[in-house]
């Protein structure tokens, strides 16, 4: 057995140029696949993190139906049962009640549509990070003051300044139009201009009194300790909440567009890799077939002296496996170096590309990933396709008659 391995290994180096080319092709294919998968998954995670950690939280408690048809009236009280359930669920590291409403904001002659987003500053900072994105001024600290924070573009559109007073008009819980005067204390910027042109953030008690909704909220956003435990935490929390009118949703359901877009680009990436692998498979098939046909005479000799055909086919497999293995190891090493470099130095987009990404609420940057599964999946796929593309040459060898081999010139 050891001799057969020796034989296979030395056979590879007989035609150095061809073996190195094959090896380089496999290395390059694995490098490309690892780099692409890395950017795909790294950017995927980055955007999930961005949207989820910035705004939505990984989980939310909502009234059933609210997610599909958000309206102020689908609301609920933050009961002690809910609070206890949240506190008792392992893996929940913070939660924050919220209200979402639509309204109109006016300053002097300018009026704009407003997406009102009401929070409890203390709790919210435990769950999401958007409060850190203060651009001008500061964030309000009490949830019952009349201080508000606007998206930076909205402030510009209103021709207002930090410190100015504005009027907000909104339809309240009871259906009546309500309005109140508020003071702009700051602006926020997330790199999502569409959103920044409408966002109005206020304290949750302030919103409850403006909208006459007493102590009701629309959602409780939840932060969890470990993303990998998302399903587990969701399930365990849902089991503890007694109310049948409430549901626990995960970030995919809360942000269906994000999930779909990411899924689409994921599928597109996999299709591209599939095409790459097919090309690699044909390349391997071609070189192995060439190296086999060249050695028919030699194979005829070893078959004559009684080598079983199956062992000869096995030899072809060993040779291919060795080339593939070396190519994959080199591809993995260079892939790891490249991916970690990108992890530490993300690619920032500028110009049109930046605008395009921002329109879809994506961060205008590409991140990579060095997660183990990328390397394992790419390596296994390439080993698989290389062994697959060996079937035909190995079969030809398996069917070779000793005399045909000897006569072959």
């Amino acid at each position: 057995m050891k001799l057969l391995i020796k034989l296979a290994w030395r056979n590879i180096w007989r035609n150095k140029r061809r073996s190195i080319l094959t090896l380089a092709a496999i290395m390059f294919a694995s490098l490309l696949a690892i780099a692409m998968r890395g950017i795909q998954l790294g950017t995927y995670d980055l955007n999930i993190k961005n949207v989820v950690e910035l705004f939505s939280g990984y989980l939310q408690i909502q009234e059933k139906g609210y997610n599909d048809n958000p309206n102020l009236n689908s609301s609920f009280q933050v009961s002690t049962n809910i609070i206890n359930a949240l506190k008792d669920t392992k893996g929940v590291s913070g939660f924050s009640p919220r209200i979402y409403a639509d309204g109109l904001i006016s300053y002097k002659d300018e009026s704009r549509g407003a997406s009102i987003f009401a929070i409890e500053p203390g709790a919210e900072s435990q769950v999401t990070s958007f409060m850190k994105n203060v651009n001008k001024g500061k964030f309000f600290s009490s949830d019952s003051s009349n201080e508000i924070v606007l998206g930076s573009e909205l402030l510009d559109n209103l021709n207002a300044k930090v410190g100015d007073n504005v009027i907000i008009l909104a339809q309240g819980y009871d259906g009546a139009l309500e309005n109140n005067k508020f003071k702009i204390v700051g602006t926020v910027k997330f790199g999502a201009p569409g959103m920044e042109a409408a966002t109005v953030i206020m304290g949750i008690k302030t919103a409850q009194s403006l909208l006459a909704m007493e102590n009701h909220v629309n959602a409780i956003a939840i932060k969890i300790q470990n993303i990998e435990q998302l399903k587990k935490v969701k399930f365990s929390l849902a089991g503890k909440i007694k109310s049948s009118s409430l549901s626990v949703l995960s970030w995919e359901s809360i942000n269906p567009g994000l999930e779909q877009l990411l899924e689409f680009s994921n599928v597109r990436g996999i299709v591209f890799l599939g095409i790459l692998f097919v090309i690699v498979a044909f390349g391997i098939l071609n070189t192995v077939l060439m190296s086999v046909t060249e050695r028919y005479r030699e194979f005829g000799v070893v078959l004559s002296i009684g080598m079983p055909q199956i062992k000869l086919a096995y030899l072809i497999y060993l040779e291919t496996f060795f080339i593939t293995l070396v190519g994959i190891v080199l591809g993995n090493i260079s892939g790891y170096i490249l991916n970690s470099y990108i992890v530490h130095h993300p690619i920032m987009f500028g110009g049109e590309l930046k605008k395009f990404y921002e329109t879809y609420h994506f961060l205008p940057q590409a991140q990579s990933s060095v997660q183990f599964s990328i390397f394992i999946n790419v390596s296994i796929s390439i080993i698989f396709i290389s062994l697959l593309s060996c079937i035909y040459p190995a079969y030809k060898v398996y069917k070779l008659e000793p005399l045909k081999g000897i006569r072959h010139t």
């Binding site: 034989l7 004559s304 079983p308």
Partner: protein, 223 residues
């Protein structure tokens, strides 16, 4: 003891649909320990006969008995096993495995029999010593002369103690002095180890030294 017996062998090749008769009604018996040379001009059927006796090909008609067993009815795998366990081959063009050293080439046959690493090395070295080619052990075929390669090929052919060694024109590529040394070696193995040799040649020097001579002419034995 009768080791090989051919009965009314006929071999007809199809050359692009045209039948070519290579062997015609060959009857032949070879006993254990014989040293047989098959002679005849080019195209007389020497290679064809050796291929049939060596279980590499099947006759169109007739039977071949090897140690009493009819090998013309056996399948590919059985023939391969017979070649591995019972036969040794020496080729005109030496045909050592180019990436293996001399000793590894000799070990190769033993590896196919599943003999352990250690035993393989010992046996190969002992045999090389006996054949006076010990100093070639770690040379690759392209570092050896034709005569040296053919000696290694002889070692490869006999290392598994075959019943019969078949050699198709083993000296054809060698000069007469080297050819003479190789014949010495084969004769020595024949007399010392009682290995049966059957080989073909159209070289007068070889034919003169044959202990038993079979002359082929147009696919028939011409004695």
């Amino acid at each position: 003891m009768e080791i090989l017996k051919a009965e009314r062998l006929v071999k007809i090749y199809q050359d692009n649909g045209v039948p070519v008769s290579a062997l015609n009604n060959i009857n032949l018996t070879v006993s254990k320990g014989e040293y047989v040379v098959i002679a005849g001009p080019s195209g007389s059927g020497k290679t064809t006969l050796l291929n049939l006796l060596g279980a590499l090909d099947k006759p169109t008609e007739g039977r071949i008995y090897f140690e009493g067993e009819d090998i013309t009815t056996k399948d590919k795998n059985e023939l391969s096993k017979i070649r591995l366990h019972k036969l040794g081959f020496i080729f005109q063009a030496y045909n050592l495995i180019p990436v293996l050293t001399a000793i590894e080439n000799i070990e190769f046959s033993m590896m196919l029999l599943g003999i352990s690493d250690k035993e393989r090395k010992e046996k190969a070295l002992a045999l090389m010593d006996e054949l006076g080619i010990k100093e070639l052990a770690n040379k690759r075929p392209n570092e050896m002369s034709g005569g040296q390669q053919q000696r290694v090929a002889v070692a490869r052919a006999i290392v598994n103690n075959p019943s019969v060694v078949l050699a198709d024109e083993p000296t054809a590529n060698l000069d007469s002095v080297t050819a003479g040394h190789l014949l010495d070696l084969m004769e020595q193995m024949n007399s010392e180890k009682n290995i049966t040799f059957i080989f073909s040649s159209h070289d007068k020097n070889v034919i003169d030294r044959a202990k038993r001579l079979i002359i082929l002419k147009d696919g028939r034995i011409d004695n």
